[in-house]
Symmetry: C2
Subunit: 210 residues, 2 copies
DNA sequence: AAATAGGTGTTGCATTTGCAACAATTTTAA
DNA sequence: TTAAAATTGTTGCAAATGCAACACCTATTT
């Protein structure tokens, strides 16, 4: 529990205490069930304790778009997001989830839990991290050609992995979505990059040759 | 002062008290001077009190990109951003700026200023707002064609202005950058939308006809 | 084991886009 | 007020991209 973002650095004992204070609920969900619907209109914060889930946006056309993949330790609902579209969280595996009201974070409780400050600090860190991740994506998306987008994306992966060889965390269909381009066009450009000797690929393994 | 994001809702008296406690400095800068350089490697938070400035990224090629336009009340440095490129803040007008160390926000002072909680809450709100703004941009950028990007952008403006008629806050050169497209191609698509009767434009005034 | 679904890889073709270059207009500075 | 700079508006053309369609392969489900 205390490796998890929001409670990072707080000892087990105190985490339990705070969760009680926050009136947090732990609930288990079966695969493919809805953990929470209409997330944008709630003040709920959720933490995935085990299993995986997806944060989904139901487009105005009824299209379902995966906004975020949530895994153990992921937090959702930390941003009372201004989406007018419906957001929901769906279990992609059996999973276990803690939820509590966002109010408990900002309004400090009467008991004044000794580690409340740390929770808030962690919360700021998490949001800042989120901004940073989104900045990366915007950097990639603003590149004009698929080639430039790919190279920017690779450069970020290279930095994160501190290596010119790394494994993609997204499959190619997802990568195309992430880059905002057509999948077949992505594959084509990937092939070009290979033919011109910029990269080597083997399934989801990428090696940069420059 | 107490309309400004981070001190919103706190009375003048207490704001002054906190600024002292935060060891905040107020400095004036002439137009085109550097307010802070290498922002990414500091823990400084700045607030623009008067005038305008730009948050600039110095690209690896030496290109200067405007990341954010800062105006009265704007905050910079709130995210210890993970940019490896150099960030700096440049005055685009004479301006006056308050700066203090980020530490003061998270580590509460010994005097335990009575409104420290509100500052933190405001800080969370600001970051959340930032995430929401970035989400909007990502939504626009992931659209595949210039037309779709424009329509998504217009739709966001329409919501924000609660009106089908509004004035663009960006000029067309900036809008092209924002959308990540070529400016001339943007103008062309704008003309198409006009010819097909979707919109009317008059300089930076847009009227949606659908 | 067979059937189904999901992801990968490829291609032709029409469309969209970026690029370059320039004129016209507006804004800003001298 | 004039000159200079910035922004808007246009166009031809080559290049990049999306789209559709299909084959192939690999998981997952029945």
């Amino acid at each position: 529990m205390n490796e998890i973002g929001i409670f990072k650095g707080i000892d087990e004992q105190n985490v339990k205490y705070m969760l009680k204070c926050f009136q947090a609920k732990t609930i288990s969900y079966k695969k493919d069930t809805t953990i929470i619907s209409n997330l944008a209109n709630t003040n709920i914060i959720g933490i995935i304790i085990s299993g995986n889930a997806n944060l989904i946006r139901n487009d105005y056309n009824g299209n379902r778009i995966v906004l975020e993949k949530l895994e153990k330790g992921s937090i959702f609902g930390e941003v009372f997001s201004s989406y007018s579209d419906e957001l929901s969280v769906i279990a992609t595996e059996d999973c276990s989830v803690i939820t509590f009201d966002y109010e408990h974070i900002i309004k400090r409780c009467k008991k004044s839990c000794p580690h409340h400050n740390e929770v808030i600090n962690n919360m700021l860190q998490i949001l800042a991290k989120k901004v940073s991740v989104m900045n990366n994506r915007i950097d990639v998306l603003t590149k004009k050609t698929i080639r430039e987008k790919l190279l920017e994306y690779f450069s970020i992966q290279e930095k994160e992995n501190i290596s010119k060889t790394f494994y993609l965390k997204l499959n190619y269909t997802e990568l195309a979505d992430y880059l905002g381009v057509d999948r077949s066009a992505l594959m084509r450009e990937l092939k070009n990059l290979k033919n011109e000797g910029f990269i080597e690929t083997k399934l989801n393994k990428i090696k940069l040759l420059y």
